[in-house]
Amino acid sequence: MKSFLILALGLLALACTPAGASPAPASLPASASASESFGPRPSSPATLAITAPQDGATVSGTTVHVTMDLENATITSSTTTSISPDQGHIHLYVDGVLTSMNYSTEQDLPVTPGTYALKAEFVAADHAPFSPRVWSNQVVFTVK
């Protein structure tokens, strides 16, 4: 009975994994172009800028409040392969590491004392980048 149940639960878990989902989906390396890894990708009219913290800012506390200005595009909450050039998500990178995937233009990031480089990217609704990639300005800030 137990083995039947385990088998059945295993099958259910397998069924809940979409066939198209890769077991280890990759983010695009910063050095690669979007078309190298994903085939032809659409361009986007979007522009993205980090408005806070400001470049050179010194902040204190355990979080830093990040705000961005996104123009010519909107943020969609859905993740889908049916993509549109003016809809997508924002990925935040701290020191070159993908730190958060945003569904808004504001985010609180946990931080520890140190100096950090922050940049953001507007990506399509499938979380893959546009071509050319839509990067924000890079901001250097210090946490005391």
Binding site: A30, F38, D95, G96, T115
Partner: protein, 266 residues
């Protein structure tokens, strides 16, 4: 014979819910396949695969061709602008980050060019324990003249470890040996950060790092917590399953009627 058959039916009846669950699971599997055919592009949502560490002098199956990093910043006003340079891997193998005003710019300087150059460790550097590539970090002005860090100013050097399981720290090469710098872990356990007051050649060398960002420490804590919870649950279950204390001998305990015996009597 009849008894044997009825036992089989009883067993089958007991297994029916599980069989039904298997059928439901298979149906869900089929529906999931229909909804998301294998040829469709996967959704990239949350899991990031790191590039392998790229060696300047690879051996065996090691990946080669490490990326360089370069950034040009124009001066606005008198102080130096913020500088953030990283090599092209994901995540970068080397980074240099400096706040505004960190570099000692002189009159006439209009731009700063920061460069991160991966180098194969020399024999002396290998003997001194260099792990992975040596990175030459320089900042020059528009004429190619080196621009040093201002007195009292510091920059952040971040190096990625080729192997997370080796304890390393950031070291600065002084021509004959590495000076180990106080090192902390960054966003990831394999990203080592150090504050430097001058640029030059940097590499990871055997040493220890610390910092609240240590993923290994967090993982170890989580594992210990999980083990403590499991141990607690097992202990509680054992205690609740333990037999009740025996009754005093002077009072003869009345045996509980056994269901099987009851059946036989009937």
């Amino acid at each position: 014979m009849l008894k044997h058959g009825s036992r089989r039916w009883a067993r089958l009846a007991r297994a029916l819910p599980a069989l039904a669950l298997i059928v439901v699971g298979m149906a869900a599997l089929g529906l999931a396949q229909l909804d998301s055919p294998a040829r469709r592009l996967p959704l990239y949502d949350g899991v990031v695969v790191e590039d392998p560490y790229r060696y300047a002098a690879p051996s065996g199956a090691q990946a080669g061709s490490p990326a360089t990093g370069e950034s040009v910043s124009q001066l606005v006003g008198t102080g130096s602008p913020s500088v953030a340079i990283s090599t092209g891997e994901n995540p970068p193998q080397a980074q240099l980050i400096a706040q505004t005003g960190a570099f000692a710019v002189t009159a006439g300087v209009t731009s700063l060019t920061g460069t991160l150059m991966p180098l194969a460790p020399t024999t002396a550097q290998t003997q001194a324990g260099a792990v992975g590539n040596v990175y030459r970090m320089t900042v020059t002005d528009q004429n190619g003249q080196q621009v040093p860090l201002a007195t009292g100013a510091q920059a952040t050097v971040i190096l990625r470890a080729p192997d997370q399981n080796v304890q390393v720290a950031v070291g600065r090469w002084d021509g004959t040996a590495f000076t180990i710098l106080p090192t902390t872990t960054g966003n990831q356990a394999d990203l080592l950060r150090a504050q430097v007051d001058s640029l030059g050649d940097f590499a990871l060398v055997p040493g220890s790092s610390s910092g609240p960002g240590s993923g290994l420490l967090l993982l170890a804590g989580a594992v210990l917590l999980a083990l403590a919870v499991i141990a607690g649950v097992v202990l509680v279950r054992r205690r609740s399953a333990a037999p009740a204390p025996a009754a005093p001998r002077s009072v003869p305990a009345s045996p509980r009627p056994n269901k099987a015996r009851k059946r036989r009597r009937q």
